[in-house]
């Protein structure tokens, strides 16, 4: 709050009402509703619901299906995060090094940010098309008979590739920005102290990039867990069946296709808790952000 503020009593309330009311109606109400219905079992024929306590939760805990999806989510998140971060870091470091064409490279490398996940997924379908997708042929070279939509592992790989492709630009932008905010004189001092470019990077540049990297870690985890919905939905071509999916997709599937409102709500609540933990972790990190300056 500013020291020099206004003391008008009703104006601020007026200003806040739109934001708060939208939030209450479309955030808190749904969230509360989800929590509540997670304790009920809905009758499939629409005849009301029965209170079942924590049964929905125990069902989840014991469900093999859920565990499979959970493991895939973990695996998927880890790989997508690692790959998109490392590739983006490499590109950002090179883009920062290069004297000529820096702007062009930056444009070429970041535009993919603006593509919608389902569009990326659609491109993925074409690329991995069983008969003549270029990537299918490419993998075929190595003796890998790629079957998108049929083979679980193949589909998972394809999803990972598309998800990484889509996420590289964001990481690239942040890493580049982080690199450019390291004071030039510190880098020059390093030039005088150390003649090895690689050593200079790990001793001086990378530690100073750490705050950005941590921050991106959280962003990427959130992305892989939630924003890849469009990619996954598209690439399974509408047939979930035995295809890989993330936890958030299962929430959608069970809730909308399977009509298991109770189960779906319970799953949402589990995810809510997970995100809560992640966000707290992120804000703690920002506060204790390794501020060297």
């Amino acid at each position: 709050m500013k020291r020099a503020g206004f003391t008008n009593p009703w104006l601020p309330i007026l200003l806040l009402v739109p934001q708060l009311s939208i939030i209450v109606v479309f955030f808190y109400w749904p969230a509360a509703w989800a929590i509540q219905s997670s304790f009920y079992l809905q009758d499939p024929f629409g005849f009301g619901s029965t209170f079942v306590g924590a049964e929905n939760y125990t069902d989840i805990a014991q469900s093999v299906e859920y565990r499979k999806v959970a493991w895939f989510t973990v695996y998927f998140t880890a790989i997508v995060t690692f790959l998109s971060l490392s590739i983006a870091l490499l590109l950002a470091v090179k883009a920062d090094n290069v004297l000529r064409g820096a702007k062009t490279y930056r444009t070429l490398l970041m535009w993919v940010y603006a593509i919608a996940p389902p569009v990326a997924g659609f491109l993925g379908i074409m690329f991995f098309d069983q008969s003549h997708g270029p990537l299918t042929r490419f993998f075929g070279f190595f003796g890998w008979d790629f079957k998108l939509g049929v083979d679980y592992f193949d589909t998972a790989t394809a999803m990972i590739i598309v998800a990484v492709w889509k996420q590289i630009p964001v990481n690239f932008i942040f890493f580049l920005s982080g690199l450019q905010s390291i004071p030039r004189s510190v880098r020059e001092a390093a030039l005088i102290d150390n003649n090895s470019g690689v050593r200079r990077f790990w001793d001086v540049t990378f530690p100073l990039l750490a705050p950005t990297a941590f921050f991106l870690l959280i962003i990427n985890i959130t992305y892989a867990m939630f924003d890849t919905f469009g990619i996954i939905d598209t690439m399974m071509k509408g047939e979930p069946g035995a295809n890989p999916m993330t936890l958030v997709y299962k929430v959608y599937l069970d809730g909308f296709r399977g009509n298991d409102l109770g189960g779906s709500s319970a799953q949402s609540v589990v995810l809510m808790v997970l995100v809560l933990v992640l966000t707290i972790f992120q804000f703690r990190l920002i506060e204790r952000r390794i501020h060297y300056t």
Binding site: K2, F6, P18, V25, M126, P134, V170, V251
Partner: protein, 298 residues
Amino acid sequence: MADLTQTQIAQPTPTRLRFKWSAVFDHLVLIAGSLLMLMPLVYAFVTASYDPVTIHREGLALTFGDQLGTNFEKALLEKGGFTKTVDGMVMLKNSFILGIGFAVGKIIISMMAAYAIVYFRLRFATFAFWIIFTTLLLPLEVRILPSYEAIQRLGMANTYSGLIVPLIASATGTFFFRQFFRAVPEELVEAARIDGAGPVKFFIDILVPLSRTMIAAIFIIMFVFGWNQYLWPTLITTDESLFTLVRGIKQIVLTYSDAAIPEHGQALALAIVAMLPPVLIVIFFQSWFVKGLTESDK
């Protein structure tokens, strides 16, 4: 002793061409990365110049065919979908409405809220702040089911407002502006008060103009976000006349499994149209976009 001078030039050595292999390597890496990012688009665009049968037979192409114009025309103007009333232009229109409506709505509402929190002595300011803050905890996908219920109960399904409003229920915009307003010098408000400006005048005459670049930056990010919305429009718009381009892609993918020979060329053309506006905006307003991205996510 000092040999001064600019007039004596002892045999100057010719400029050496500093050829560094490391620089070549850097460029190679960057070129590889750029190709990686571009190839899918290139393939898509070129392939969209063929008729569906050829594509079905041969897959993605790298040399141009002759159906480019036709495919784009069909994508935009041929009425498809179940009711045969929707064409690409309608979807384009809807995408714009969603993108711009969302961005504008978000900016206005969050600026007002941030202004209220930062510049007023509110007793419950902190409380309001925390209410807004907690929305960062839950992305839409997680509360998708109940949000859908809420919209149904409010009778807002299949409406533009139903599409746009729930998306505004998150704190990112407010946070962004709050941070920006806090960085504005205190003296400005004091000078304004001395000049006789009340809170509304201060906001409109001074704060908003000051925030111009920030508004532009956020607008770009939000427009792209709104345009690219997928799950939400899929759920609450069953009326085809409200489909956005991105929603339309889903329809295409669905028909892929059914149709004998899907309209590949048209589909690709539509995908490209769906990509174009956000990509162009991001490219042409690059510096604002980058600024908005890096400053809003803190």
